[in-house]
């Protein structure tokens, strides 16, 4: 082995080992929270609050459509806490045996709304008007994996327009993608939560609110995932979400607070 090669190998070895050394140096812990993407802004703030109270813990958020998150956890993803935008997804995880007993609780509610780009001039007095030919594309989450998509489908069914607007539907991977499509003007209308519309007030406007009777109740449950390596931290995170401070943050972002055990 030439001298140069030996030196190179030694340098590579140390630069590979160094990050591990730094990581082991301090007692930092990671808490991974899989949460419905509509919770992004509220949970990121709650996460910062949690980190300020627990200096040795870093909260990592894994955001996406609740259905995708369930599939990941069932596939063995190392998640500590799970929060979904519908009871159905939590039920699915529960029946598959991934929820730690007695940690499941409902922590927020939301409303389903129809939004259009702020610059849109189309009038939509009622959901039935989505049949209008001026409305060519309507975005909604894919009902297979996105709770907001299921609520949208239920609402369309309620107003008996599902068949008529079927060809106009653009299905997305998650609810924030619907928001983005409407914001960019790629579609004429989209179904999101009122809390999502709040995040993009300058670009979209809420034109209709789906009545509660038109879809299943939009309730967000949270639970500790079985197999978590940080059960204590996970439990205290859930406790923060359901605490008065957590509920206050949620309501600041437009969620309706309900801290009740299921």
């Amino acid at each position: 082995m030439t001298k140069k090669l030996a030196v190179l190998l030694v340098i590579s070895f140390f630069s590979a080992v160094l990050p591990v050394g730094i990581a082991l140096a301090g007692p930092t812990m990671d808490l991974t929270v899989s949460a419905a993407i509509s919770l992004k802004n509220a949970f990121e703030e709650i996460g910062k609050l949690y980190e300020s109270r627990n200096k040795n813990t870093k909260v990592l958020f894994n955001l996406g459509a609740s259905g995708d998150l369930v599939t990941q956890i069932k596939g063995g993803a190392p998640i500590d806490v799970f929060a979904s935008a519908a009871l159905k997804d939590m039920d699915k995880l529960d029946s598959a045996g991934f929820v730690v007993k007695d940690t499941r609780t409902n922590f927020a509610a939301n409303t389903v709304v129809l939004i259009v780009p702020s610059s849109s001039k189309i009038t939509i007095p009622s959901f039935e008007d989505l049949k209008k030919p001026e409305i060519k594309k309507i975005a909604m989450g894919n009902p297979k994996t996105v709770p907001a998509g299921r609520y949208a489908a239920e609402t369309f069914q309620y107003y008996k327009i599902s068949d008529m607007i079927h060809n106009k539907l653009i299905l997305t991977e998650n609810v924030r993608q619907v928001l983005d499509y409407v914001y960019r003007g790629e579609v004429d209308a989209g179904v999101v939560y009122s809390t999502d519309a709040m995040v993009r007030q300058q670009g979209v406007k809420i034109i209709l609110t789906a009545p509660e009777a038109s879809h299943k109740p939009v309730i967000y449950p949270i639970a500790v995932v079985k197999g978590t390596k940080n059960e204590q931290a996970a439990n205290s995170f859930v406790a923060l979400v359901t605490s008065e401070e957590g509920q206050k943050i949620l309501s600041q972002y437009g969620f309706k607070p309900i801290a009740s055990a299921k």
Binding site: G67, T71, N142, T145, I170, L171, R184, G185, E186
Partner: protein
């Protein structure tokens, strides 16, 4: 085989075929230009045509949205004149596949054209043939190995395109869900058996395609 699976397979083949035809037309022209001509901006063109090869498909997808989205730099004019947007249509899937497969064609065809013996080309000119005739009758036939290879690579790349396609065509069942997208959805929603069937069908199809392609290229070459 399930209806939706057949649809996805048919759509993938359709999109890849149309994209490959476009790639061959544009790619051959570009390869010829780059290998045989000198002009200002030649290096820039080369870089632009190669970029989709090195950029992640999501970056390519992002640029395509910026250009062809309903409010995009080019898309807004298209929408203003025709009321139509390419987003969420199978044409967008073709566009995505075209852009990512083009560098493969340009690179392999250019290398093939550059390796054609210059003496043969000069001989053709001295015999009185025009540049067009020389290109068609002398250069391209002599470069056919690389061109065929480029075509096969492009088709394969187009069939497997995922990231950029997802961004501009969307993943709409029955409309734009090509096989890679459909497999992604099935796997994501936990529909393991559907995903497994599609993966198997796609692998068999790809294997069959490679077999046919190698048989054809042996005949052509």
């Amino acid at each position: 085989m399930d209806d939706s699976l057949l649809f996805s397979l048919k759509l993938s083949v359709q999109v890849a075929t149309v994209a490959t035809v476009l790639v061959v037309m544009v790619g051959l022209s570009a390869a010829y230009l780059l290998s045989r001509k000198n002009f200002p901006g030649k290096e820039l063109l080369d870089i632009l045509l190669t970029l989709p090869l090195v950029l992640p498909p999501t970056v390519t997808g992002y640029y395509l949205i910026v250009l062809f989205g309903r409010n995009g730099l080019l898309g807004r004019y298209l929408y203003a004149w025709t009321g139509w947007s390419i987003m969420f249509t199978w044409y967008a899937a073709v566009l995505a596949s075209f852009v990512v497969a083009l560098p493969l064609m340009v690179k392999t065809a250019r290398a093939a054209i550059e390796s054609v013996d210059e003496n043969l080309i000069r001989a053709s000119y001295t015999l009185g043939h025009s540049e067009y005739r020389t290109a068609l009758k002398v250069i391209l036939p002599l470069a056919r190995k690389g061109i065929v290879a480029g075509t096969i690579l492009s088709f394969a790349r187009a069939m497997g395109e995922f990231g950029a396609t997802l961004m501009i065509a969307g993943n709409i069942p029955g409309r734009t869900n090509t096989m890679p997208l459909a497999i992604y959805s099935a796997a994501g929603s936990g529909d393991r058996s559907q995903a497994a069937i599609m993966v198997m069908v796609f692998t068999l199809f790809s294997g069959f395609f490679l077999y046919v392609a190698s048989k054809l290229s042996r005949r052509v070459l």
